[in-house]
Symmetry: C3
Subunit: 158 residues, 3 copies
Protein backbone atom coordinates (compact mmCIF):
# COMPACT_ATOMS: atom_id res chain seq x y z
CA UNK A 1 0.00 0.00 0.00
CA UNK A 2 3.05 2.30 -0.36
CA UNK A 3 2.02 5.43 -2.24
CA UNK A 4 2.43 9.16 -2.61
CA UNK A 5 -1.19 9.80 -1.87
CA UNK A 6 -1.45 8.85 1.77
CA UNK A 7 -2.78 10.70 4.78
CA UNK A 8 -0.80 11.20 7.98
CA UNK A 9 -2.44 12.51 11.13
CA UNK A 10 -0.37 13.53 14.14
CA UNK A 11 -2.68 13.42 17.16
CA UNK A 12 -1.25 15.43 20.03
CA UNK A 13 -4.55 16.53 21.54
CA UNK A 14 -6.43 14.34 24.01
CA UNK A 15 -9.67 16.32 23.68
CA UNK A 16 -12.73 14.30 22.72
CA UNK A 17 -13.77 16.55 19.86
CA UNK A 18 -10.32 16.65 18.31
CA UNK A 19 -9.73 12.91 18.67
CA UNK A 20 -13.17 12.42 17.15
CA UNK A 21 -12.22 14.65 14.20
CA UNK A 22 -8.92 12.82 13.77
CA UNK A 23 -10.55 9.39 13.51
CA UNK A 24 -13.31 10.73 11.25
CA UNK A 25 -10.77 12.12 8.78
CA UNK A 26 -8.67 8.95 9.00
CA UNK A 27 -11.70 6.80 8.20
CA UNK A 28 -12.59 9.01 5.25
CA UNK A 29 -9.04 8.74 3.93
CA UNK A 30 -8.85 4.96 4.36
CA UNK A 31 -12.27 4.55 2.75
CA UNK A 32 -10.93 6.47 -0.24
CA UNK A 33 -8.14 3.92 -0.55
CA UNK A 34 -5.38 6.11 0.84
CA UNK A 35 -2.55 4.76 3.00
CA UNK A 36 -3.56 6.24 6.35
CA UNK A 37 -1.32 6.54 9.38
CA UNK A 38 -2.05 8.10 12.74
CA UNK A 39 0.80 9.04 15.02
CA UNK A 40 -0.21 9.52 18.65
CA UNK A 41 1.91 11.75 20.83
CA UNK A 42 1.54 13.31 24.31
CA UNK A 43 -2.14 13.67 25.28
CA UNK A 44 -3.16 11.94 22.08
CA UNK A 45 -1.93 8.66 23.61
CA UNK A 46 -5.17 8.63 25.63
CA UNK A 47 -6.98 7.69 22.43
CA UNK A 48 -5.12 4.40 22.10
CA UNK A 49 -4.94 3.29 25.72
CA UNK A 50 -6.56 0.12 26.93
CA UNK A 51 -8.56 1.39 29.86
CA UNK A 52 -7.49 3.91 32.41
CA UNK A 53 -4.21 5.46 31.36
CA UNK A 54 -1.71 4.09 33.84
CA UNK A 55 1.40 6.19 33.57
CA UNK A 56 3.36 5.55 36.77
CA UNK A 57 5.00 8.95 37.00
CA UNK A 58 3.46 11.93 38.79
CA UNK A 59 2.63 13.34 35.38
CA UNK A 60 1.09 10.09 34.26
CA UNK A 61 -0.90 9.74 37.46
CA UNK A 62 -2.28 13.28 37.10
CA UNK A 63 -3.24 12.45 33.57
CA UNK A 64 -4.92 9.31 34.90
CA UNK A 65 -6.79 11.35 37.52
CA UNK A 66 -8.22 13.55 34.82
CA UNK A 67 -8.90 10.67 32.54
CA UNK A 68 -10.30 7.59 34.24
CA UNK A 69 -11.59 4.80 32.09
CA UNK A 70 -9.96 5.16 28.71
CA UNK A 71 -11.34 6.51 25.48
CA UNK A 72 -14.91 6.74 26.76
CA UNK A 73 -13.84 9.21 29.42
CA UNK A 74 -12.12 11.72 27.20
CA UNK A 75 -13.75 15.16 27.43
CA UNK A 76 -14.22 17.71 24.66
CA UNK A 77 -11.92 20.73 24.56
CA UNK A 78 -14.80 22.98 25.62
CA UNK A 79 -17.80 22.65 27.89
CA UNK A 80 -16.36 19.94 30.04
CA UNK A 81 -17.86 21.33 33.26
CA UNK A 82 -17.47 18.39 35.62
CA UNK A 83 -18.02 15.90 32.86
CA UNK A 84 -21.23 17.48 31.59
CA UNK A 85 -19.59 18.39 28.31
CA UNK A 86 -18.58 14.81 27.63
CA UNK A 87 -21.97 13.47 28.61
CA UNK A 88 -23.76 16.02 26.43
CA UNK A 89 -21.46 15.47 23.51
CA UNK A 90 -21.96 11.74 23.65
CA UNK A 91 -25.71 12.06 24.16
CA UNK A 92 -25.98 14.21 21.07
CA UNK A 93 -23.80 11.89 19.05
CA UNK A 94 -26.02 9.01 20.11
CA UNK A 95 -29.22 10.87 19.32
CA UNK A 96 -27.87 11.62 15.88
CA UNK A 97 -26.53 8.11 15.49
CA UNK A 98 -23.02 9.44 15.04
CA UNK A 99 -20.64 6.60 15.78
CA UNK A 100 -19.13 6.75 19.25
CA UNK A 101 -15.41 7.18 19.68
CA UNK A 102 -14.59 3.56 20.50
CA UNK A 103 -16.56 2.27 17.50
CA UNK A 104 -14.94 4.97 15.40
CA UNK A 105 -11.51 3.69 16.40
CA UNK A 106 -12.54 0.14 15.61
CA UNK A 107 -13.84 1.17 12.19
CA UNK A 108 -10.57 2.93 11.47
CA UNK A 109 -8.58 -0.16 12.39
CA UNK A 110 -10.86 -2.41 10.33
CA UNK A 111 -10.36 -0.14 7.33
CA UNK A 112 -6.61 -0.51 7.63
CA UNK A 113 -5.70 2.74 9.37
CA UNK A 114 -2.39 2.21 11.18
CA UNK A 115 -1.97 3.60 14.70
CA UNK A 116 1.54 4.41 15.93
CA UNK A 117 2.50 5.58 19.43
CA UNK A 118 5.26 8.16 19.74
CA UNK A 119 8.26 6.54 21.39
CA UNK A 120 9.49 9.58 23.29
CA UNK A 121 6.04 10.42 24.68
CA UNK A 122 5.66 6.92 26.08
CA UNK A 123 9.03 7.28 27.74
CA UNK A 124 8.47 10.77 29.16
CA UNK A 125 5.00 9.89 30.43
CA UNK A 126 6.15 6.50 31.73
CA UNK A 127 3.41 4.65 29.92
CA UNK A 128 4.24 1.06 29.03
CA UNK A 129 3.50 -0.41 25.62
CA UNK A 130 1.20 -2.88 27.39
CA UNK A 131 -1.09 -0.06 28.50
CA UNK A 132 -1.99 0.56 24.87
CA UNK A 133 -4.58 -1.37 22.88
CA UNK A 134 -3.21 -4.43 21.10
CA UNK A 135 -3.90 -3.09 17.63
CA UNK A 136 -1.31 -0.30 17.71
CA UNK A 137 1.80 -0.70 15.59
CA UNK A 138 5.41 -0.51 16.73
CA UNK A 139 6.39 2.58 18.69
CA UNK A 140 8.21 4.97 16.42
CA UNK A 141 10.00 8.27 16.43
CA UNK A 142 9.77 11.47 14.42
CA UNK A 143 11.98 10.11 11.60
CA UNK A 144 9.61 7.22 10.90
CA UNK A 145 6.60 9.52 11.15
CA UNK A 146 8.15 11.90 8.61
CA UNK A 147 8.73 9.01 6.19
CA UNK A 148 5.02 8.22 6.34
CA UNK A 149 4.27 11.88 5.91
CA UNK A 150 6.55 12.09 2.86
CA UNK A 151 4.33 9.49 1.21
CA UNK A 152 1.26 11.56 2.04
CA UNK A 153 -0.73 14.21 0.26
CA UNK A 154 -1.82 15.76 3.53
CA UNK A 155 -0.31 15.71 7.00
CA UNK A 156 -2.46 17.11 9.76
CA UNK A 157 -1.38 18.16 13.24
CA UNK A 158 -4.38 17.80 15.54
CA UNK B 1 -9.35 26.67 -11.13
CA UNK B 2 -8.62 22.95 -10.56
CA UNK B 3 -4.97 22.49 -9.75
CA UNK B 4 -2.41 20.60 -7.71
CA UNK B 5 -1.26 23.71 -5.98
CA UNK B 6 -4.26 24.63 -3.86
CA UNK B 7 -4.63 25.36 -0.17
CA UNK B 8 -7.13 23.59 2.07
CA UNK B 9 -7.84 24.83 5.57
CA UNK B 10 -9.89 22.76 8.00
CA UNK B 11 -11.22 25.16 10.65
CA UNK B 12 -12.31 23.29 13.75
CA UNK B 13 -11.48 26.00 16.27
CA UNK B 14 -13.93 28.76 17.08
CA UNK B 15 -11.31 30.92 18.81
CA UNK B 16 -10.95 34.45 17.46
CA UNK B 17 -7.20 34.30 17.02
CA UNK B 18 -7.25 30.97 15.21
CA UNK B 19 -10.15 31.93 12.94
CA UNK B 20 -8.27 35.15 12.25
CA UNK B 21 -5.16 33.18 11.31
CA UNK B 22 -7.19 30.84 9.11
CA UNK B 23 -8.70 33.68 7.07
CA UNK B 24 -5.36 35.50 6.85
CA UNK B 25 -3.66 32.43 5.39
CA UNK B 26 -6.61 31.78 3.06
CA UNK B 27 -6.44 35.34 1.74
CA UNK B 28 -2.70 35.03 1.17
CA UNK B 29 -3.19 31.78 -0.71
CA UNK B 30 -6.02 33.13 -2.87
CA UNK B 31 -4.04 36.30 -3.60
CA UNK B 32 -1.22 34.06 -4.84
CA UNK B 33 -3.64 32.50 -7.32
CA UNK B 34 -4.07 29.23 -5.46
CA UNK B 35 -7.38 27.34 -5.36
CA UNK B 36 -8.34 27.95 -1.72
CA UNK B 37 -10.94 26.01 0.22
CA UNK B 38 -11.94 26.34 3.83
CA UNK B 39 -13.83 23.53 5.53
CA UNK B 40 -15.61 24.56 8.73
CA UNK B 41 -16.34 21.90 11.30
CA UNK B 42 -17.53 21.89 14.94
CA UNK B 43 -16.68 25.19 16.67
CA UNK B 44 -15.34 26.57 13.41
CA UNK B 45 -18.92 26.87 12.17
CA UNK B 46 -19.20 29.99 14.32
CA UNK B 47 -17.04 31.76 11.77
CA UNK B 48 -19.62 31.34 9.01
CA UNK B 49 -22.84 31.88 10.93
CA UNK B 50 -25.20 34.72 10.14
CA UNK B 51 -25.62 36.29 13.57
CA UNK B 52 -26.08 34.51 16.82
CA UNK B 53 -25.46 30.83 16.39
CA UNK B 54 -28.90 29.29 16.79
CA UNK B 55 -28.40 25.57 17.23
CA UNK B 56 -31.64 24.30 18.73
CA UNK B 57 -30.14 21.47 20.73
CA UNK B 58 -28.90 21.83 24.29
CA UNK B 59 -25.39 21.77 22.89
CA UNK B 60 -26.24 24.38 20.31
CA UNK B 61 -27.93 26.58 22.87
CA UNK B 62 -24.94 26.40 25.20
CA UNK B 63 -22.75 27.32 22.30
CA UNK B 64 -25.13 30.20 21.60
CA UNK B 65 -24.92 31.33 25.23
CA UNK B 66 -21.20 31.55 24.99
CA UNK B 67 -21.26 33.11 21.60
CA UNK B 68 -23.95 35.75 21.14
CA UNK B 69 -23.90 37.85 18.04
CA UNK B 70 -21.92 35.94 15.45
CA UNK B 71 -18.41 36.44 14.22
CA UNK B 72 -17.91 39.73 16.08
CA UNK B 73 -18.42 37.98 19.39
CA UNK B 74 -15.87 35.24 18.98
CA UNK B 75 -13.22 35.38 21.71
CA UNK B 76 -9.53 34.59 21.41
CA UNK B 77 -8.24 31.30 22.79
CA UNK B 78 -6.50 33.14 25.64
CA UNK B 79 -7.21 36.21 27.74
CA UNK B 80 -10.93 36.10 27.28
CA UNK B 81 -11.64 37.17 30.88
CA UNK B 82 -15.30 38.15 30.64
CA UNK B 83 -14.92 39.42 27.13
CA UNK B 84 -11.92 41.63 27.87
CA UNK B 85 -9.68 39.52 25.69
CA UNK B 86 -11.91 39.96 22.69
CA UNK B 87 -12.30 43.68 23.25
CA UNK B 88 -8.56 44.15 23.66
CA UNK B 89 -7.73 42.02 20.68
CA UNK B 90 -10.13 43.96 18.50
CA UNK B 91 -8.99 47.31 19.85
CA UNK B 92 -5.39 46.45 19.04
CA UNK B 93 -6.29 45.22 15.59
CA UNK B 94 -8.15 48.49 14.98
CA UNK B 95 -5.33 50.62 16.29
CA UNK B 96 -2.96 48.84 13.96
CA UNK B 97 -5.45 48.95 11.11
CA UNK B 98 -5.47 45.20 10.90
CA UNK B 99 -8.64 44.20 9.11
CA UNK B 100 -11.39 43.02 11.42
CA UNK B 101 -12.65 39.47 11.21
CA UNK B 102 -15.85 40.23 9.33
CA UNK B 103 -14.01 42.30 6.71
CA UNK B 104 -11.38 39.58 6.54
CA UNK B 105 -14.06 37.03 5.73
CA UNK B 106 -15.51 39.32 3.07
CA UNK B 107 -12.08 39.82 1.51
CA UNK B 108 -11.56 36.07 1.41
CA UNK B 109 -14.90 35.54 -0.33
CA UNK B 110 -14.18 38.35 -2.80
CA UNK B 111 -10.84 36.76 -3.66
CA UNK B 112 -12.59 33.49 -4.47
CA UNK B 113 -11.94 31.52 -1.30
CA UNK B 114 -14.64 28.86 -1.03
CA UNK B 115 -16.23 28.19 2.37
CA UNK B 116 -17.73 24.76 3.06
CA UNK B 117 -19.64 23.69 6.17
CA UNK B 118 -19.10 20.16 7.47
CA UNK B 119 -22.32 18.21 7.00
CA UNK B 120 -22.00 16.02 10.08
CA UNK B 121 -21.20 18.96 12.38
CA UNK B 122 -24.32 20.80 11.25
CA UNK B 123 -26.36 17.70 11.98
CA UNK B 124 -24.83 16.94 15.38
CA UNK B 125 -25.06 20.55 16.51
CA UNK B 126 -28.56 20.94 15.03
CA UNK B 127 -27.63 24.04 13.12
CA UNK B 128 -29.67 24.63 9.99
CA UNK B 129 -28.08 25.63 6.69
CA UNK B 130 -30.11 28.86 6.89
CA UNK B 131 -28.21 29.92 10.02
CA UNK B 132 -25.07 30.22 7.92
CA UNK B 133 -24.12 33.19 5.76
CA UNK B 134 -25.39 33.01 2.20
CA UNK B 135 -21.93 32.83 0.65
CA UNK B 136 -21.06 29.37 1.93
CA UNK B 137 -20.94 26.51 -0.55
CA UNK B 138 -22.81 23.23 -0.36
CA UNK B 139 -22.44 21.26 2.87
CA UNK B 140 -19.96 18.47 2.36
CA UNK B 141 -18.40 15.53 4.08
CA UNK B 142 -14.88 14.32 4.72
CA UNK B 143 -14.62 12.61 1.32
CA UNK B 144 -15.25 15.86 -0.57
CA UNK B 145 -12.88 17.73 1.74
CA UNK B 146 -10.13 15.17 1.08
CA UNK B 147 -10.59 15.59 -2.67
CA UNK B 148 -9.95 19.32 -2.30
CA UNK B 149 -7.00 18.52 -0.08
CA UNK B 150 -5.58 16.09 -2.66
CA UNK B 151 -5.42 19.04 -5.08
CA UNK B 152 -3.58 21.09 -2.48
CA UNK B 153 0.04 21.73 -1.68
CA UNK B 154 -0.80 22.38 1.95
CA UNK B 155 -3.69 21.29 4.15
CA UNK B 156 -3.88 22.94 7.56
CA UNK B 157 -5.91 21.80 10.55
CA UNK B 158 -6.68 24.87 12.64
CA UNK C 1 18.83 23.82 -0.23
CA UNK C 2 15.73 24.65 -2.36
CA UNK C 3 13.63 21.54 -2.79
CA UNK C 4 10.16 20.10 -3.05
CA UNK C 5 10.64 17.96 -0.02
CA UNK C 6 10.83 20.53 2.77
CA UNK C 7 8.94 20.87 6.02
CA UNK C 8 7.13 24.03 7.06
CA UNK C 9 5.82 24.47 10.60
CA UNK C 10 3.54 27.37 11.48
CA UNK C 11 3.79 27.86 15.25
CA UNK C 12 0.84 29.85 16.56
CA UNK C 13 0.65 28.21 19.98
CA UNK C 14 2.76 29.44 22.88
CA UNK C 15 2.11 26.32 24.98
CA UNK C 16 5.21 24.49 26.18
CA UNK C 17 4.12 21.07 24.96
CA UNK C 18 3.17 22.30 21.51
CA UNK C 19 6.32 24.39 21.07
CA UNK C 20 8.26 21.34 22.24
CA UNK C 21 6.53 19.19 19.62
CA UNK C 22 7.18 21.80 16.94
CA UNK C 23 10.93 21.91 17.58
CA UNK C 24 11.13 18.11 17.88
CA UNK C 25 9.52 17.64 14.47
CA UNK C 26 11.66 20.41 12.97
CA UNK C 27 14.83 18.75 14.25
CA UNK C 28 13.74 15.40 12.84
CA UNK C 29 13.05 16.98 9.47
CA UNK C 30 16.35 18.87 9.35
CA UNK C 31 18.24 15.75 10.44
CA UNK C 32 16.65 13.94 7.49
CA UNK C 33 18.12 16.58 5.18
CA UNK C 34 14.87 18.41 4.52
CA UNK C 35 14.68 22.20 4.08
CA UNK C 36 12.96 23.11 7.34
CA UNK C 37 11.28 26.43 8.07
CA UNK C 38 9.39 27.50 11.16
CA UNK C 39 7.06 30.47 10.99
CA UNK C 40 6.19 31.97 14.38
CA UNK C 41 2.96 33.88 14.70
CA UNK C 42 0.92 35.26 17.63
CA UNK C 43 1.63 33.33 20.86
CA UNK C 44 4.26 31.30 19.05
CA UNK C 45 6.51 34.36 19.10
CA UNK C 46 7.21 33.56 22.76
CA UNK C 47 9.36 30.69 21.57
CA UNK C 48 11.81 32.99 19.80
CA UNK C 49 11.98 35.88 22.23
CA UNK C 50 15.19 36.86 23.99
CA UNK C 51 14.04 36.92 27.59
CA UNK C 52 10.83 38.30 28.93
CA UNK C 53 8.51 39.15 26.09
CA UNK C 54 8.39 42.92 26.12
CA UNK C 55 5.48 43.96 23.98
CA UNK C 56 4.72 47.55 24.96
CA UNK C 57 0.99 47.44 24.29
CA UNK C 58 -1.61 46.42 26.86
CA UNK C 59 -1.88 43.13 25.05
CA UNK C 60 1.87 42.68 25.02
CA UNK C 61 2.19 43.59 28.67
CA UNK C 62 -0.50 41.08 29.65
CA UNK C 63 1.33 38.47 27.65
CA UNK C 64 4.49 39.48 29.48
CA UNK C 65 2.74 39.16 32.84
CA UNK C 66 1.79 35.62 32.02
CA UNK C 67 5.14 34.82 30.54
CA UNK C 68 8.08 36.22 32.48
CA UNK C 69 11.53 35.05 31.55
CA UNK C 70 11.35 33.79 27.99
CA UNK C 71 11.28 30.28 26.67
CA UNK C 72 12.02 28.67 30.03
CA UNK C 73 8.81 30.12 31.45
CA UNK C 74 6.40 28.83 28.85
CA UNK C 75 3.78 26.54 30.39
CA UNK C 76 2.19 23.44 28.88
CA UNK C 77 -1.35 23.70 27.49
CA UNK C 78 -2.64 21.62 30.40
CA UNK C 79 -1.80 21.24 34.07
CA UNK C 80 -0.26 24.66 34.44
CA UNK C 81 -1.75 25.23 37.91
CA UNK C 82 0.31 28.17 39.12
CA UNK C 83 3.38 26.96 37.29
CA UNK C 84 3.27 23.43 38.66
CA UNK C 85 2.59 22.00 35.25
CA UNK C 86 5.68 23.62 33.78
CA UNK C 87 7.85 22.55 36.70
CA UNK C 88 6.59 18.99 36.51
CA UNK C 89 6.93 18.82 32.77
CA UNK C 90 10.49 20.05 32.90
CA UNK C 91 11.37 17.80 35.84
CA UNK C 92 10.14 14.79 33.92
CA UNK C 93 11.95 15.82 30.78
CA UNK C 94 15.12 16.19 32.84
CA UNK C 95 14.68 12.86 34.57
CA UNK C 96 14.28 11.23 31.19
CA UNK C 97 17.12 13.23 29.72
CA UNK C 98 14.83 14.71 27.12
CA UNK C 99 16.43 17.87 25.82
CA UNK C 100 15.03 21.03 27.35
CA UNK C 101 13.28 23.59 25.18
CA UNK C 102 16.13 26.05 24.96
CA UNK C 103 18.63 23.34 23.98
CA UNK C 104 16.07 21.99 21.55
CA UNK C 105 15.85 25.40 19.88
CA UNK C 106 19.64 25.60 19.71
CA UNK C 107 19.86 22.15 18.17
CA UNK C 108 17.27 23.12 15.56
CA UNK C 109 19.24 26.25 14.65
CA UNK C 110 22.52 24.30 14.50
CA UNK C 111 20.90 21.79 12.14
CA UNK C 112 19.92 24.61 9.81
CA UNK C 113 16.25 25.04 10.73
CA UNK C 114 15.22 28.58 9.78
CA UNK C 115 13.05 30.58 12.19
CA UNK C 116 10.85 33.36 10.79
CA UNK C 117 8.72 35.78 12.79
CA UNK C 118 5.34 36.79 11.37
CA UNK C 119 5.47 40.45 10.44
CA UNK C 120 1.86 41.28 11.24
CA UNK C 121 1.96 39.57 14.64
CA UNK C 122 5.01 41.62 15.66
CA UNK C 123 3.16 44.77 14.64
CA UNK C 124 -0.15 43.93 16.33
CA UNK C 125 1.56 42.82 19.53
CA UNK C 126 3.99 45.76 19.43
CA UNK C 127 7.01 43.53 19.81
CA UNK C 128 10.20 44.92 18.33
CA UNK C 129 12.52 42.81 16.19
CA UNK C 130 15.20 43.40 18.86
CA UNK C 131 13.15 41.51 21.44
CA UNK C 132 13.68 38.34 19.43
CA UNK C 133 16.74 36.11 19.56
CA UNK C 134 19.46 37.07 17.08
CA UNK C 135 19.22 33.84 15.10
CA UNK C 136 15.76 34.51 13.64
CA UNK C 137 15.52 35.32 9.94
CA UNK C 138 13.88 38.34 8.37
CA UNK C 139 10.29 39.04 9.39
CA UNK C 140 7.98 37.83 6.69
CA UNK C 141 4.34 37.70 5.73
CA UNK C 142 1.92 35.01 4.69
CA UNK C 143 3.00 35.17 1.03
CA UNK C 144 6.61 34.31 1.87
CA UNK C 145 5.49 31.59 4.28
CA UNK C 146 3.32 30.02 1.56
CA UNK C 147 6.27 29.98 -0.84
CA UNK C 148 8.24 27.95 1.71
CA UNK C 149 5.23 25.75 2.20
CA UNK C 150 4.89 25.20 -1.56
CA UNK C 151 8.40 23.69 -1.49
CA UNK C 152 7.35 21.41 1.36
CA UNK C 153 5.99 17.90 1.60
CA UNK C 154 4.24 18.71 4.85
CA UNK C 155 3.04 21.95 6.38
CA UNK C 156 1.90 21.75 9.98
CA UNK C 157 -0.16 24.30 11.88
CA UNK C 158 0.69 23.98 15.56
Amino acid sequence: MESNNGTTIIVMSGDLDKVFAAFTIAIGAAAAGKETNMYFTFWGLKAIQKGNLTGKSLFGRMMGLLNRGGINRIGPSRFNFGGIGRWMFKAMMKKHKVTQLEELRKTAIDLGVKLYPCEMSLKVMEISREALIDEVGATCGVAAMLEMSDRSKQTLFI
